[in-house]
Amino acid sequence: MRPDPVILAFDTSAAHCAAALLSGGQVVAEAWEPMEKGQAERLLPLCQEVMAQAGMGWGDLTALAVGTGPGNFTGVRIAVAAARGLALSLGVPAIGVTRLEALAHGLPRPLTVVEDARRGEVYVQEFDPDPGEARLSAVASLGVEGCAPDVVGSAAEAAAAVTGGRLLVQPLPLTHAMALIAAGRLDRPQPRPAPFYLRGPDAAPPADPPPVILP
């Protein structure tokens, strides 16, 4: 690991396009733009603008950090595919960081991250202090599941009412936390970033069975 890693982190897992540049242990430039669609068009120009703010370019990067979700399937793929392409051409590692890990970054543990997953469900992951298995659940069942009472995340308010714990807030922007987490992983080889869906692809086998084949 180089003494002063330069890490570009980006994320398009929800209705935003976000990037942050870490250098000298600090985030030296960042941007966050709310965006319902158009992340595919905006992501790389935004990254270039963020690097330009710090007088840097693609060739200065030591590593990439990319948000792998959970979140919008298409949005997650936009960032992950771009990160894999950049890693290939720049010859630097791309490190996947989940949204849940980023939300838990630097907060006191034990802690439960509870993110809204829509359809009445939440993404849940406990950190005690190491990360437990992330899963899809319902807020109402958090008490039964015996989660750590202190909570953070977009569904934390409802979750705190069930767990009776403190409602914590992640002070850092998502990509800021992702860059810091990735910096801590540079000392060992990392798998290629892969979308972290936590939800199946919503495909059902055909309802009509094939005909009986007679002898």
Binding site: A40, P45, R77, A81, R84, L88, A194, V212
Partner: protein, 364 residues
Amino acid sequence: MTTLTFLGIESSCDDSAAAIVRSRPGQAPEVLSSVVQGQTALHAAFGGVVPEIAARAHAEKLDDCVEKALDLAGLRLDDVDGVAVTAGPGLIGGVLSGVMLARGVAIGAGKPLIGVNHLAGHALTPRLTHGLAFPYLMLLVSGGHCQFLIAEGVDRFHRLGGTIDDAPGEAFDKTAKLLGLPQPGGPSVEAEAALGDEGRFVFPRPLLDRPGCDLSFSGLKTALLRARDALVAEKGGITVQDRRDLCAGFQAAVAAVLAEKTGRALLSYLALSPAEPALAVAGGVAANRAIRAVLETVSSKVDVRFIAPPLPLCTDNAAMIAWAGIERFRAGLGDEADLVARPRWPLDSQAAPMIGSGKKGAKA
């Protein structure tokens, strides 16, 4: 003209592919490598390609395909002159994964990026494999497409007609599904048909009574379903021989319709008095021997050369995308660093839309 070496990337349906193609002045272009990772097993249980499953696979396979293609060609990214990627039409999730990967590769390596229409990739393949001169007639016949095109230039295609509903490959897949045969339906239906009697079930030949080159295949599928259900109602199932005969009748109907419409397309094409008349096919359905045979017959009747590129370059692949990228680059068309994915992208922008002419525009 200089030597050009392009990386091609394709992910518009259920094949993740990357390839390297080199074009040297005065020499036939060369496919240095062509990597295709299919997803047949992933979709097998669903009787068709599931877009979300396809998109998930592409996002995690494409960079690996690119590395393999470079390795097999014995090249590094630095040795490549440009990156070409399918930017549409196709399943948006896969196209988007390919476009974002390509943008990342091109921007990081400082290479030009060329967006290629998937259909143009197929339509320009005869120039890669056989050095065909414009204008030539192209029949594109696959699981997602069916159209007759006159290829007039690298960026000029005139559509004579096409399917107004299903593509023939899709009809083969649905036939296989209705008869309990394995996917993909093309090879399994063809194998059964070879053992069947095509005269026992006579299926409709849609749109033959209408002028022009448009085709329709959805009614054929319904007719097959009715014939199957009649057999099931009669004896509680179908025999292996019933199935062979159904497949033979179905395939004969598809071949007959394609033969008749190809004959009409050839007449329109020959009216242009091409110097070296040629009909080329592309797409997975072109692998069907019975269909290929009737197309050969129809074109030989009017003294038109029939060309079928080797099967790996007929079905979805990235060599055709790399080649189309080279052709576009040589023609001074597009270095598009800000390339966007276009799920709908008709090749002939002048022609009236055939399918999906809603507010998002024509599908193909």
